[in-house]
């Protein structure tokens, strides 16, 4: 185990700050989808880079937890590496890239492909927690709208999309309704991931540091993506399976291979892709793909 950073408490935050965050989390869990204000602290990483998620993770983490950190679905993106190192240094907890082994998963922009289980907690980093913010910039107004459950503005916006483009033009941070009451921003995950939130056995916590809000979805809670009868909610479909592991029905990243239009599509969830390849699944470009995408599983 790494030696802990001297001079700082377990998981960096002082106990008083943890208690304050913990109290907010309890209220968030009790009122699914409602954004609880909390006295977010300055963290040793910039606002907008996961300070909300980091504070939530620091407040819930225990010595026995196993932590996974992903950004864009990958454990190896620079910001994921940086946050994972932060907790290795300050909490000394075990970390993993395996979704199934993690007890706490902190994420930015994706939900893992491997279905989450009971007992797991996923912590989302949230930039703008207010789903109505881009329709109404004033907190005083949006707060009243949530209080009165007045969400007509959002329906109008989505309907205007349909009138203009023939489709709802929201592809990520696609608004959901939690347990039939609160309109909620699922964080900027692609709408592909929205169905994973519905009735998930895992506890889902959301932390917005700069905006000072925490919200939650308890396990087994209804999460419905907004839609219209004549324009039902649909997730992105990819034409081809993953070029490396042949997975279907997963979210793919487009990788540009050259300047002549060459491209391939590979799993955004790198742990999922590596696990499949280790199990022997082979996509059509495995072997031909450049090393920077096709690198073999670490173990």
């Amino acid at each position: 185990m790494t030696t802990l950073h001297p001079g700082y408490n377990f998981a960096y935050l002082d106990e008083q700050t943890k208690r304050m965050i913990r109290r907010a989390i309890l209220k968030a869990v009790a009122i699914p989808g409602y954004q609880v204000p909390f006295a977010s602290r300055e963290m040793p990483m910039p606002y907008g880079w996961g300070t909300g998620g980091v504070q939530v993770t620091a407040a819930i983490l225990g010595e026995g937890d196993v932590l996974k950190v992903i950004d864009q679905g990958s454990d190896d993106t620079t910001n994921a590496v940086s946050i994972r190192k932060f907790f290795e240094k300050t909490a000394g907890v075990e970390t993993t890239t395996e979704t199934a082994r993690a007890t706490v998963i902190q994420t930015r922009h994706r939900i893992p492909e491997t279905a989450l289980q009971e007992g797991q907690t996923i912590v989302y980093q949230v930039p703008i927690p207010e789903p109505l913010r881009f329709l109404e910039p004033r907190e005083t107004e949006t707060r009243t709208m949530h209080g009165l459950e007045e969400y007509g503005l959002m329906h109008v916006k989505l309907y205007e999309d349909i009138a203009t483009h023939g489709h709802i033009a929201t592809t990520y941070a696609y608004p959901v309704k939690v347990n039939g009451r609160y309109l909620m921003d699922p964080s900027p995950t692609p709408k592909f991931d929205n169905p994973k939130m519905d009735m998930s056995p895992a506890l889902q916590l959301f932390g917005a540091g700069r905006e000072k809000r925490i919200y939650a979805i308890p396990p087994y809670t209804k999460v419905v993506s907004l839609d219209f009868e004549d324009h039902p909610f649909e997730v992105n479909k990819f034409d081809k399976p993953c070029a490396l592991c042949a997975a279907e029905g997963v979210y793919l990243d487009e990788v540009i291979l050259d300047d002549a239009g060459g491209r391939m599509f590979v799993c955004s969830d790198t742990d999922y892709c590596e696990t499949r390849r280790a199990e022997g699944h082979r996509g059509e470009m495995l072997g031909e793909a450049p090393a920077f995408v096709s690198r073999e599983p670490a173990e």
Partner: protein, 206 residues
């Protein structure tokens, strides 16, 4: 000042390992509210003054500090010992009005005050509501209720004992004012059940 007697709050211990025990106690409370009706276990060792139980004391120490207020029911105010124990270990302000309390500690659940005596929060800020921590002899043996709602896959049963006779009606009224309302943590010994305001309740087998 009187001499230190065994009942003096300073001699009654809080958490032996504050950081770890606060975390595990909080985690149990979080999971209790995330999984209503599902029993959680508190793993803490501390010595609160009677009749405050270890479990309730652990929750108070894990969640309260100088930024919070606590209300104690008459069972917990028979002497000043519990109040001074909590003040010493948490720094929380003990309030006499339940409506001002972030946390309410209730030792005599049969005489539980009406929920609307506590803070229910507002439509704009439903989080500004009291969390009730109820100390019971047992989580079994009472008339069974069926719970459903967020955190419950299907239905789960609750048979804690004793609860006020009008418990079902109170909880239904609490659910009806959602998103306002109180949240309950029900503790017997070191076992804990959560009953957040989002939970629907009805008498089971009726």
């Amino acid at each position: 000042m009187d001499t230190l007697s065994p009942a003096h709050p300073h001699s009654l211990s809080g958490f032996a390992r504050p950081v770890a025990e606060s975390q595990s106690t909080f985690h149990a409370a979080m999971m209790a509210l995330a999984r209503p009706g599902q029993r959680q276990t508190l793993a803490a060792s501390l010595t609160p003054p009677a009749p405050l139980s270890e479990g309730v004391a652990a929750l108070a120490l894990a969640l309260c500090d100088f930024e919070t207020t606590i209300w104690l029911d008459p069972a917990f105010t028979v002497s000043d010992e519990i109040a001074s124990y909590l003040r010493f270990h948490t720094g929380a302000r003990i309030v006499t009005s339940p409506a001002q309390a972030n946390f309410a500690l209730v030792g005599e659940t049969a005489a539980l005050p009406a929920f609307d005596a506590f803070a229910l929060g507002t439509l704009d800020y439903p989080d500004r509501s009291t969390t009730l921590i109820l100390q019971l002899p047992s989580l079994d043996g009472g008339p069974p209720f069926a719970l459903s709602g967020p955190g419950v896959a299907g239905e789960v049963s609750l048979a804690a004992h004793p609860l006020p006779p009008d418990f079902e009606a109170r909880m239904q009224a609490n659910r009806a004012v959602f998103p306002r309302g109180v949240d309950l943590l029900i503790v017997a010994g070191l076992s804990l059940i959560g009953l957040p305001r989002s939970t629907s309740i009805r008498k089971a087998g009726g």
